[in-house]
């Protein structure tokens, strides 16, 4: 019965949100009580109610609902019953809708925006909500009943029974869907056809907000893959990973252009274009994940009929928004010349490279599909392609991050710049020498990327040093939040480069049958295998390998990687065991036992250099975003 209430609220959302476009067409919410602001708040309430009801059904294990029967189990710990709500297609799209209405609600609460503009933006947002709720009700209703009701459920995909999954999808969605409000604001700007700076100011915090959530979501996803999948890596260039990276790249580009658009009134049409593209890429990501057109590790929720619907949605939204953009972009193009050697110039250049990068990644991601359709030729585009396009593009992006912040606005010249940062150049030279001295035996590529990382960190810290004054005594003047957030984000990127380089180029991999008491050496660790013990938990049985780790013949700790077999669906998952240090992770995964002798097992032992810095880098990145948002909140009080 309660499930029907859930549908009721969903239908209410659909009907009320339809006022988002009916309102402006029939012009009945001008001078009337029915404003888009009220509509936004009402549908947020309805969607929340619907979501809470679904969650409740999961908690009480109502197996008469198809979704719950397929994705939950009575033996499941309660926390995973709750996360199971978004561990499947229907529930996760409902979460998507919830987040979308949440952003509409948040926007409706923002002060200091003129009502006309707010109404326009919200009417776009509500129209988007209408389309998504249409999609839910017609192709993926989470409240569908199954008959006869099942006695027990098929269990949640064991890979998803992990703390990482509790937070990864909601954050990712906050990022993805956060770009919907950026999209709505941009469309509203286009509709009003007004290039005042104030409107672009409104856009700003939402870009930062969705970018921060997206960074967080991607970081968490990568972290989850690293310790849950047991493949020893953190990024696999999987289509779904790429799908989340694309909007991140375009919104990172957007973060930079919006500064110029609000400050100088130039690059406005580029900003609008990026805003639109970011949301379209989020939608495209959803399409790629949900329709199963590409092979992916995330293939736990796909269905081609839904694919058609999302495709229609994607095409309709892209066509309308891009049409509007083309029609109105003249208003927003500026005749202002941008000097190459200036802050704007550096940002524009970096934008070009970031956009090229995202376009190339997009091409690599969907190319297998195109090649299949056009040439009837199955190919796969893998890590080598992406790594080889990423590496050269990192050079200009790195240089931009290093020197961009030292350039003056409007006009600067190179000799001036060089004399201003001559101390920095000297330090950079010394840093490079140190890096080379420490790594010259290693692969040349790793030396280059370590140098990039160190350069960015050095120049970012140098930027902060401007706020230090030594006379009469050492004091740190107040650093503006703006600078702090930029420095933090740039250092974050540098640390990610460090970790990624160490983890991919310098990794040491050992796969073997390891006998009990046999010792394997990885880097400067000795790994002694003590055997395998069986452990039984509520919903799974586990073969737990016991390994003692020694460094310089001193015992450090015992690691216990597991191979779990889940009771309900007999699926096997790998739980890697990791010993993290600042210099790298010792990563152990255990495989099958030897069928012919009882005392040896397949073990995979990796030494991943500097992996921990990836996660620290993500934290810095997110910190940068949070500081920006904080700055905005402070300014708006």
């Amino acid at each position: 019965m309660i499930a029907e209430l859930g549908i009721f609220f969903l239908i209410l959302t659909l009907i009320i949100s339809s006022l988002g476009f009916i309102g402006p067409i029939f012009k009945f919410n001008e001078n009337s009580e029915v404003t888009q602001i009220k509509i936004s708040r009402l549908i947020f309430f309805c969607t929340s109610a619907s979501f809470i009801i679904l969650t409740y059904c999961f908690i009480i294990s109502d197996f008469s609902l198809t979704v719950i029967e397929k994705n939950s189990n009575s033996q499941l710990p309660t926390i995973y019953k709750i996360t199971g709500v978004w561990g499947n297609h229907e529930g996760s799209i409902l979460l998507w809708l919830l987040v979308m209405t949440f952003f509409g609600f948040l926007f409706s609460c923002q002060k200091k925006i003129d009502t006309k503009f707010k109404e326009k933006t919200l009417s776009v947002q509500n129209t988007l909500i209408f389309l998504i709720s249409l999609f839910i009700l017609f192709t993926s209703n989470p409240f569908d009943r199954t008959f006869p009701p099942a006695i027990d459920g098929a269990d949640l995909n064991p890979l998803l029974q992990d703390p990482g999954l509790i937070i990864h999808p909601p954050f990712l969605y906050l990022g993805y869907v956060g770009s919907s409000i950026v999209f709505s604001v941009s469309i509203a700007i286009l509709i009003l056809n007004n290039n005042t700076k104030e409107y672009f100011e409104i856009l700003k915090p939402w870009i930062f907000l969705s970018w921060t959530f997206l960074s967080c979501g991607i970081g968490l996803g990568s972290w989850w893959a690293y310790y849950e999948l047991g493949w020893g890596g953190f990024w696999f260039w999987d289509p779904v990973e790429n799908a989340s990276l694309l909007p991140w790249l375009t919104s990172s580009a957007l973060l930079h252009t919006i500064i110029i658009s609000t400050k100088k009134k130039s690059l406005q049409n580029w900003t609008l274009f990026l805003s639109i593209i970011t949301f379209l890429l989020s939608l495209l990501g959803t399409f790629l994940v949900r329709s199963g057109v590409l092979v992916s590790v995330h293939a736990f929720a796909n269905d081609p009929t839904r694919g058609v619907f999302i495709l229609l949605l994607l095409i309709a939204i892209s066509a309308i928004s891009l049409f509007l953009f083309l029609k109105r972009s003249k208003t927003f193009s500026s005749k202002l010349q941008i000097n190459l050697v200036s802050r704007e110039g550096a940002i524009s250049l970096n934008n070009i490279f970031m956009f090229t990068l995202s376009f190339t990644i997009l091409l690599g991601t969907v190319y297998p599909l195109f090649s299949n359709v056009i040439f009837n030729n199955k190919i796969s585009v893998g890590a080598p392609f992406f790594n080889s396009i990423l590496s050269p593009l990192m050079i200009p992006i790195t240089l931009g991050m290093m020197f961009g912040p030292f350039l003056k606005w409007e006009k600067d010249d190179v000799s001036n710049l060089l004399s201003r940062i001559r101390i920095l150049l000297l330090i950079l030279f010394l840093v490079s020498l140190t890096i080379w001295y420490l790594n010259y035996k290693g692969p040349i590529l790793s030396v280059i990327f370590f140098a990039f990382s160190a350069w960015i960190i050095t120049s970012s810290l140098f930027e902060l040093s401007k706020f230090l004054s030594f006379k009469p005594r050492l004091i740190l003047r107040k650093v503006p939040l703006k600078t702090f957030s930029q420095v933090s984000a740039h250092i974050g990127i540098a640390l990610i480069i460090l970790g990624a380089t160490g983890t991919s180029i310098l990794r040491i991999e050992q796969i073997q049958f390891q006998e009990i008491n046999e010792v394997i050496t990885a880097k400067n660790f000795k790994v002694k295998f003590l055997g395998v013990k069986m452990v039984e938990k509520k919903n799974y049985k586990s073969q737990m390998g016991v390994f003692e780790i020694y460094k310089n013949n001193k015992y450090i700790k015992t690691l216990t990687p597991e191979k779990r077999m889940y009771n309900a669906n007999k699926q096997v998952t790998t739980e890697a065991a990791i010993h993290s240090t600042v210099f790298g992770d010792l990563y152990i995964a255990i495989g099958d036992g030897n069928t012919l002798s009882n005392n040896s097992w397949t073990t995979r032992i990796w030494f991943n250099s500097f992996t921990i810095w990836i996660w620290i880098g993500v934290l810095f990145l997110v910190l940068g975003g949070i500081l920006s948002i904080f700055r905005f909140i402070k300014a708006n009080k």
Binding site: F287, L294, V308, L326, P368, L369, V373, Q512, G593, T595
Partner: protein
């Protein structure tokens, strides 16, 4: 003009995605069937004769087997390889492995391989389109790939393998 451009781009992308929906991306046929064997370069394992591309030019039907000592299913397959080796030449390629383990393995379970080699960087395996272990290729007199078997050759696969080898 620009609108027409937009229309063309949108509809062609839409069309391709729509077509793509009807294709199952997880079915991967081997591109190598009926093609010449790819090139490869291996490292020597102990004193065993090294397998190199010239061996495949011999005017006879032969088998190439990808394996590794750390791979459980390879061990399951081993007795069947031993049996096949009585009537055909089998060449072995060990992926991401080390000589010491391979020698130990061949000594304890028998050596079905005429010649073998070690593919430590995995590049030869990529050339051959190997994505799991074990994988076995049957190659005809003219050095063309006739058949690819994915996964261990079990007792009940032997009949099929023999029929192809004839």
């Amino acid at each position: 003009m620009k609108y027409l451009f937009l229309l063309i781009i949108m509809s062609s992308i839409g069309f391709m995605f729509y077509k793509g929906l009807k294709i199952d991306p997880s079915v991967v046929p081997s591109n190598l069937i009926d093609k010449q064997t790819p090139n490869f370069q291996l490292k020597k394992v102990g004193k065993y004769p090294l397998f190199d591309p010239n061996d495949l030019t011999k005017q006879e039907i032969k088998i190439v087997n990808f394996f590794a000592t750390w791979c459980g299913p390879c061990k399951v397959e081993h007795p069947q390889l031993m049996e096949l080796s009585n009537s055909f030449r089998i060449y072995g390629i060990a992926k991401k492995d080390n000589s010491k383990d391979i020698i130990k393995w061949l000594r304890s379970y028998g050596n079905p391989f005429d010649k073998l080699g070690l593919d430590n960087d995995g590049i030869s395996s990529i050339e051959w389109g190997v994505y799991g272990l074990p994988e076995t290729f049957i190659i005809n007199k003219d050095n063309k790939i006739l058949y690819k078997h994915i996964g261990p050759i079990m007792k009940n696969d032997l009949e099929k393998i023999y029929s192809i080898l004839k």
